[in-house]
Every structure is written in structure tokens, then in C-alpha cells.
């Protein structure tokens, strides 16, 4: 009897959640059936899901050469670098934005640093090309000659690319991450800062002892989510921006670009699904692991 009344009391809430739940089931759970493709040989005559079962055969191409090491290393290291740099620079810019008092300027800066996020990666790759090209690039045709230096063949020399890619990624995603931190910073209760000022804490001490600890939950949430994507790479960034230049593969080849190039020739949906399955399963395990770690040290901040 008591149970029923509880249900009656809460059913409007359940109804409210229902559409979202249905959406998630249709959009995120049902398609997981597609993962079975990864274990089949695609055969259109038998229908999309009618192919023969081939076990782990479709996964082999991912691990069969020494590229496996290079692409795993590149994917992981770049993502780690992106995560760290995005947190640091994001918080830094978020802080700076929150310290701007004139609303007009605040808005203007915010929009300006958000703009690169909205530019297509193809266009970004040509902006980069406009700087680095051999035939007409700004750096090779104007800046280096002016300094009396000889031109650099950027698209054939891997040395510079870890820096270029990290720079481009930071430039592109800065607006997005800084806005998240900025909004967290300004929602921190002002009375903390007032109290700190009365106690004689300077700007730096306020940031160190109030802002950063208050930002911790946001940082951890974003971190865990990004760790889930650590086996994925931004395809456009690693394929388009280096102009698919083969000489740079040692530092630009990631799991996604490898799969794209491998399957470009014969477009095997099963093999592509195998690669996708591998990335998402590893990502899922990493999210569980990261969350478990967070739970162990700071139960309050854990995601679930």
C-alpha cells in the first residue's frame, strides 16, 4: 500500500524522464546491435546482418603490423597532451575572462576565442597550409627569408608536427573549454571571496584556495569524459591538417586515420565496425577505471 502511493506521488517525474529514456534507448542502445557486424563477413546478397560469422578475423588488420604500436602511441600521447593542455589553458583563460569587468569586452573576447571552434577543419587545414606551404606559404616565402633563414619543407619533416598539431588543437578548442570553466568560476559564491579579502588574501591566494578547489568537480567530470574518448582521435586534425602527407605518418598516424586509409580501398563495413568496437570497449573500460580511481580518493567528485 505504501509502495503504491509512493509511485503515485512520483509518476509525473517518471513521465518527465520517459521521453529522454526512449530517446536514449533508440539512439544509443538499439544501434549497439550493429556491433555484431564486427564479427561477420559483410555480404550484401545475404543482407546487412546476414553475413557469415568470422570470429575475431576483422580485428586482425589493426594489430598485424608495427603500425599498431605507432598508432596506439600517437593516439594516446596526443590525447593525454590535449587533455592536460586544455585543462591548464582552459582554466587560465576562464580565469582571465572572469576578471574582465566590462561586460562588452568579456563578451567580445569570449566570442572571438570561440570562433575557431566553429570553423570547418578543412578550412583550418588550408589556413595552416597558407602558413606552411612550400610554393606560397607565409612562413617560407616571407618570414624565414626576412630572417635570413632557408625555407623548411614542413610537410616532409615530422619534427615540427607534434607542436603544430597541439597548437592547432588548442587554438581550435580553447573557446569551448574556457567557456565551461568560465561559467563554473562565475557561479562560485562571492561570499567566499569577500571573506578571503577581509582575511587579507591577495588575488593569487584567492585563486589558489578558492577558485581551484571549487573547480575540482568540473575538472574531474570533464577529465573522465575525455578519458573515455582517449582511444579516438579527431580525424580532421590528424588527416586534413597535415594534408595526408606520408612523410609525417610517424607523428600523425592515429587509430582513426589508419583505419580510414586501410579501408579506403575496399570499404569493408565489418572491419570498420571492428575498429569502432575496439575503440569504444577500451574507452568504456578506461572510464570505469578512471571513475573507480576518483572514487577511491575523493568519493564526492566521482561521476557514478
Amino acid at each position: 500500500m505504501k509502495r503504491k502511493s509512493r509511485w503515485l506521488r512520483l509518476y509525473p517525474m517518471d513521465l518527465m524522464v520517459l521521453p529522454a529514456l526512449i530517446y536514449i534507448i533508440i539512439n544509443n542502445y538499439i544501434p549497439m546491435y550493429g556491433l555484431t557486424l564486427a564479427f561477420k563477413k559483410i555480404d550484401y546478397a545475404k543482407g546487412l546482418y546476414g553475413g557469415d560469422f568470422v570470429g575475431l578475423d576483422n580485428f586482425k588488420f589493426l594489430f598485424s603490423t608495427k603500425d599498431a604500436w605507432v598508432i596506439t602511441r600517437n593516439t594516446l600521447c596526443y590525447n593525454l597532451a590535449f587533455i592536460v593542455i586544455n585543462v591548464v589553458v582552459g582554466i587560465l583563460v576562464g580565469l582571465m575572462l572572469s576578471e574582465i569587468l566590462r561586460r562588452v569586452f568579456q563578451r567580445t573576447y569570449q566570442t572571438l576565442i570561440l570562433l575557431p571552434q566553429l570553423i570547418s577543419i578543412i578550412i583550418i587545414s588550408y589556413i595552416v597550409f597558407a602558413f606552411l606551404s612550400n610554393e606560397s606559404g607565409l612562413i617560407n616565402k616571407t618570414i624565414l627569408p626576412a630572417l635570413g633563414l632557408s625555407p623548411v619543407n614542413f610537410y616532409n619533416d615530422p619534427t615540427y608536427w607534434p607542436f603544430i598539431l597541439i597548437f592547432v588543437n588548442t587554438w581550435k578548442s580553447l573557446g569551448y573549454t574556457s567557456v565551461i570553466y568560465f561559467s563554473s568560476i562565475i557561479s562560485i559564491d562571492h561570499s567566499y571571496y569577500e571573506a578571503a579579502r577581509i582575511d587579507g588574501a591577495g588575488k593569487f591566494k584567492q585563486i589558489l584556495h578558492i577558485t581551484l578547489p571549487q573547480l575540482k568537480p568540473t575538472v574531474i567530470t570533464l577529465l573522465i569524459m575525455q578519458i573515455g574518448r582517449i582511444f579516438y582521435s579527431d580525424f580532421g586534425l590528424f588527416y586534413q591538417v597535415p594534408m595526408n602527407s606520408g612523410m609525417l605518418f610517424d607523428v600523425t598516424n592515429t587509430i582513426d586515420t589508419f583505419v580510414y586509409r586501410a579501408l579506403l580501398q575496399f570499404n569493408d563495413i565489418s572491419k570498420a565496425s571492428a575498429a569502432g568496437a575496439y575503440q569504444s570497449v577500451v574507452g568504456f573500460l578506461l572510464v570505469l577505471g578512471a571513475n573507480a580511481l576518483v572514487r577511491k580518493f575523493d568519493k564526492e567528485s566521482a561521476l557514478f
Binding site: N27, N28, I30, P31, G34, L35, L37, A38, I42, D43, Y44, A45, K46, L48, D57, K60, F61, S64, T65, D67, S133, N134, E135, N153, Y155, N156, Y176, V179, I180, S183, I186, S187, T221, L222, M225, G228, M243, N244, S245, G246, M247, F249, N253, F258, R261, A262, L263, L264, Q265, F266, N267, D268, I269, K271, A272, S273, G276, A277, Q279, S280
Partner: protein, 530 residues
């Protein structure tokens, strides 16, 4: 305070977006989702087909266009239906897709069982004949050809149908135009004239002759690259020919075994029973050495290894003097259209008709087609009925083009390349090009000449051999990566000599030998059967 709440909301929305993007988009899930929706749609359309059995059968004819969908598609479609509905009881729906997205669109249409009855395979990614047949996306046409395709059988002939045959099943019909391919060197006529080199170019018969021209052109203007290559950097390494000796006449030819652009394993005509690995050949090394020398001379476009443009597009931008390319018989007009300049062409070698060239542009019926008979009836018309061929090629007479009265056609009054409602540049595509009217500016007897050349064309002794790569797909996936890593730099001369060694080592690691051996085994079986 209000702002604070707004920003907290923004944060929540952003987080949600992040979460959604984090778990929403595996490639498998999106195809699965759309296919479920599409297949029910296909069932519906199949059901409605049956109820209207007295009506003409409707088919969808899907083709590529180089730009946007032509404006007068409906007009041309109506004109075609005026012929096809009374004569063969088929109502045709034209479907134009931009060439860049065509492979993806085909895959989606077939996985989703969308209405689609005739498609063209093109030498690009998943729309390549080899890929479509490897995944059983096409139906065998033998019986349909016997019943409804007599026009195709006489026009195309058994010789060319053999190129699209696998184990006795004909899976598609090659488009009929000049099927011999010729390797050319192309140079801008105006620059040749300005330097008094036109005569030298016309009688050039060796790489040394060309080098003499390149040297003088470079001396006259070193700001513009002398040679450019298409995306992938292939300046001098064209399929089918080793440009490794000096004299054009002595250059060895090979069959590229129909494997698209990889060219991993080829068979030389002077040793036609043995599969050789192309990149290990001495001739390949000689070509790469030559290109490196030319790059060192400053002749080659410095962005050649990374460019996404074709060589014709680069010349059009005024950033190049010449290029090597593989083209059709009498390619002068097509090169002028593509570059905007008069080009002087030097013929280097004529390649025999190969399986690979017959599989470039072909017409096929997908397994999901509901009306294969009707599709074949219409396909037959595109190979045997002048009216349909001309409608597809040029649009409607007096609307899009007019007869000049002396055997040619040209734009109708007030119509030009920029505003034509049917200004397609894909005239090589539609069925039988030999039935099409001749556009002004071409030679009047070009159709007869092409037909004669087709009939007399030298044919590769390996025509009809089809490599089944299903046992080496893992090797092929790795090999393709190795090729895209090393080949562009080698082909454009940027790479050093050591890069070739590294390339070969990497290919061996990726399983080159088992790939070559597999092809050899299959070739032995093919030759034994013959």
C-alpha cells in the same frame, strides 16, 4: 544573478552535448539505425509496385555529375520517359550525385535497400567494381543480357564483356568509348611557342628530348614549376608503363591486374606468366631516381606530394607548365577543357586494353533492385538507342543544343557552359558513347575512328583474370597504409634514396610477399584453365 543562472544552464547544456558526442557516434550504429528505417520504406515501395502491375515499371538510374545536380533534370527525364514508357514499359527516374559523395551514397542506398536499379561503378573507393563485387553488391547479368540485352551484346562485344566477368558471371557492362589508354606528356602550347620549342615538342621521342625542353622552359621562367603531379604526387609514375628507359619506344609495359591505384603486383607483357612486385622492380627505382633528379633541378611543384588537386587543375591555376597523364585516344579537347589552355600532347605509349581499364566506369544492377528486368531493358537502350544516348549526354535538342547542319552540334542560342540546364561534362559515362552526336571542335569522324581503334585494340593476354583478394584483406589493409605513407614523396621526388629501401622493407613487413604469391597462385590457375 540572472547571468549566473544562465551560465549554469549553458554549462549543463554543454555537458550534455559532450556526453552525447561521447557515446553517440560509432560508424556501425549510424548505418544500423538508418538501415532499419530504410528497409521498411523499401518494403512499402515494393508493395505498391505489385498493386500497380498494369503501369510502367519504375526504375531509378543513378549517375555521377561533376558539379551540382543539373537544373533541367526533370525535362530530360520526361523526354526519356516519352520514349521508354511506350516502347519498353519502363519509367525512368534520374538520380544525379556529385562524384565525391557517390561511393558513400551507393553504400547507403544498398545497405538501406533504397530504390536503386542501375548504378555506375567508378574507380573510386567503395564504388569500384572490384569492391562492389567482392561484397556481393551486384547481380550477375548473364541471363538478363541474353533476354533483354541483345543491343549491349552486339555493341560492346564479348571481348569487352570479359573484362567485367568473374568466374563466368558478367557483373556489369563497361561504358563504351575509346578503350585504349595512352600515356601522354602534356605541355602548354603558348609557353612552348614563346620559347620557340613547339617543333621540338612535337617530335620528342625520348625523355632526353623532353628534358631539353624542360631545361629551356625553366631557364626562361623559374618562378613557375615545370612539372606538376596529381594528388598522391604521381609526377612520372603512371600505371601501365615503366618510364624507365630513355626512348619512348623501349619503355616496358605491364598489366596492373585491375587492383585500382595500389599497383602492388603487376605482370609485365614481356614475361606474361609471372607476377612481379612493382615497387621492387629496378625500373621503379630508375623512375624514382629520375624524379628525384628533376626535383633537385627545381622543375617539380614543391607541394606535389601533398596537393589535393589534379595536375590539370594546377595548370589551370597558372602554376604549372606540363604534366604526364594517362588519357583516352585524342585527348586534346578534354585537356583543353580541364586546363583552360591549348596543350601540346606527346604520345609516349599506347597501353593494351586491360581488365583494369574495362572496370573503370561500368554499369551494373545492385542486389537490392526490385526490377532487374526493367533495369536491363533501359540499360540496353543506353547502349543501342541514339535518342536515349543523346538525351543523357547533351539534353534536349533545340533547348540545350542545336544541330549546326554540318554533322556537329553546339550550344543552343543563349546557352553556354555556365548556364546550360544540362551542361554535363561526363560524356564518357552514359552507355555507348559511339552513338552520341559529335560536339563542334572535335574531328568529324571521331566516332568511326574510336570504333575502329576499339575493334583493332591490342588486348592484354590476361584479360578476364580477376584477382580475388578475400584471403589477403588484412595484408592489403596494412599495405595500403604503407603505400600512402611512402609513395607520394617518392613519386614527387621529395624523398631520398633511403626512403625507397624503407618503403620496400615496410611493404615486406606488411605482407607483400604473401600478396604477390596469392596472386601468382591464382594467375597460374587462370592460365592453366585457358
Amino acid at each position: 544573478m540572472k547571468l549566473k543562472r544562465f551560465l549554469a544552464m549553458t554549462l549543463a547544456v554543454l555537458m550534455l552535448a559532450l556526453a552525447a558526442s561521447a557515446c553517440g557516434d560509432t560508424p556501425a550504429s549510424s548505418t544500423a539505425g538508418s538501415s532499419a528505417a530504410q528497409s521498411s520504406q523499401a518494403e512499402q515501395s515494393a508493395a505498391s509496385e505489385q498493386t500497380n502491375s498494369g503501369e510502367p515499371t519504375k526504375i531509378v538510374y543513378s549517375f555521377i555529375v561533376m558539379g551540382n545536380e543539373p537544373a533541367d533534370m526533370q525535362l530530360v527525364q520526361d523526354a526519356i520517359n516519352e520514349i521508354t514508357i511506350p516502347e519498353i514499359g519502363v519509367e525512368v527516374e534520374l538520380q544525379a550525385t556529385a562524384v565525391g559523395s557517390y561511393p558513400e551514397q551507393l553504400t547507403l542506398a544498398i545497405t538501406g535497400a533504397e530504390p536503386l536499379d542501375l548504378l555506375c561503378t567508378i574507380p573510386s573507393g567503395s564504388a569500384h567494381f572490384n569492391n562492389m563485387t567482392a561484397q556481393n553488391q551486384l547481380i550477375a547479368l548473364n541471363d538478363l543480357l541474353d533476354t533483354y540485352g541483345q543491343g549491349i551484346k552486339t555493341e560492346v562485344g564479348d571481348k569487352f564483356l570479359e573484362g567485367t566477368t568473374i568466374d563466368g558471371s558478367i557483373y556489369s557492362v563497361t561504358t563504351l568509348y575509346g578503350k585504349s589508354t595512352i600515356t601522354y606528356a602534356a605541355m602548354r602550347t603558348d609557353i612552348l611557342e614563346a620559347n620557340g620549342l613547339l617543333e621540338d615538342a612535337e617530335k620528342a621521342a625520348s625523355l632526353t628530348d623532353l628534358e631539353a625542353i624542360f631545361t629551356k622552359v625553366y631557364e626562361a621562367d623559374s618562378s613557375m614549376p615545370v612539372l606538376v603531379g596529381s594528388s598522391g604526387g604521381n609526377v612520372l609514375n603512371l600505371p601501365g608503363l615503366f618510364m624507365s628507359t630513355d626512348s619512348f619506344a623501349d619503355m616496358p609495359l605491364y598489366d596492373d591486374m585491375g587492383d585500382g591505384t595500389n599497383n602492388l603486383a603487376v605482370v609485365r607483357y614481356d614475361d606474361a606468366t609471372k607476377v612481379t612486385s612493382l615497387y621492387e622492380a629496378e625500373e621503379t627505382k630508375a623512375i624514382y631516381d629520375k624524379v628525384r633528379e628533376w626535383y633537385g633541378n627545381g622543375w617539380i611543384h614543391k607541394d606535389a606530394s601533398t596537393t589535393q588537386d589534379t595536375c590539370q587543375e594546377i595548370v589551370k591555376q597558372g602554376k604549372g607548365f606540363g604534366y604526364f597523364f594517362l588519357g583516352e585516344v585524342d585527348a586534346k579537347t578534354s585537356q583543353k577543357t580541364a586546363t583552360g589552355y591549348d596543350m601540346t600532347l606527346v604520345e609516349i605509349a599506347t597501353n593494351p586494353v586491360q581488365t583494369g581499364s574495362l572496370r573503370k566506369f561500368t554499369w551494373a544492377i545492385p542486389v537490392t533492385s526490385q526490377n532487374p528486368e526493367a533495369a536491363m531493358k533501359f540499360l540496353n537502350m543506353t547502349y543501342s538507342d541514339e535518342r536515349i544516348v543523346n538525351l543523357l549526354n547533351y539534353g534536349i535538342e533545340d533547348t540545350h543544343y542545336v544541330d549546326t547542319g554540318d554533322g556537329f552540334i553546339t550550344y543552343a542560342e543563349g546557352v553556354d557552359a555556365t548556364n546550360s540546364g544540362w551542361g554535363l561534362t561526363t560524356s564518357f559515362l552514359f552507355g555507348n558513347q559511339l552513338l552520341a552526336k559529335v560536339w563542334e571542335g572535335n574531328e568529324a569522324d571521331i566516332r568511326e575512328k574510336t570504333k575502329e581503334l576499339n575493334d583493332s585494340a591490342e588486348v592484354s593476354p590476361l584479360l578476364g583474370f580477376s584477382f580475388d583478394n578475400s584471403s589477403v584483406t588484412n595484408e592489403l589493409a596494412s599495405l595500403t597504409n604503407v603505400i600512402s605513407q611512402y609513395r607520394p614523396a617518392l613519386q614527387s621526388g621529395v624523398a631520398t634514396e633511403e626512403n625507397l629501401d624503407a618503403f620496400i622493407t615496410a611493404l615486406k613487413d606488411a605482407g607483400l610477399d604473401s600478396y604477390v604469391n596469392e596472386m601468382q597462385t591464382q594467375l597460374d590457375a587462370f592460365l592453366a584453365d585457358k
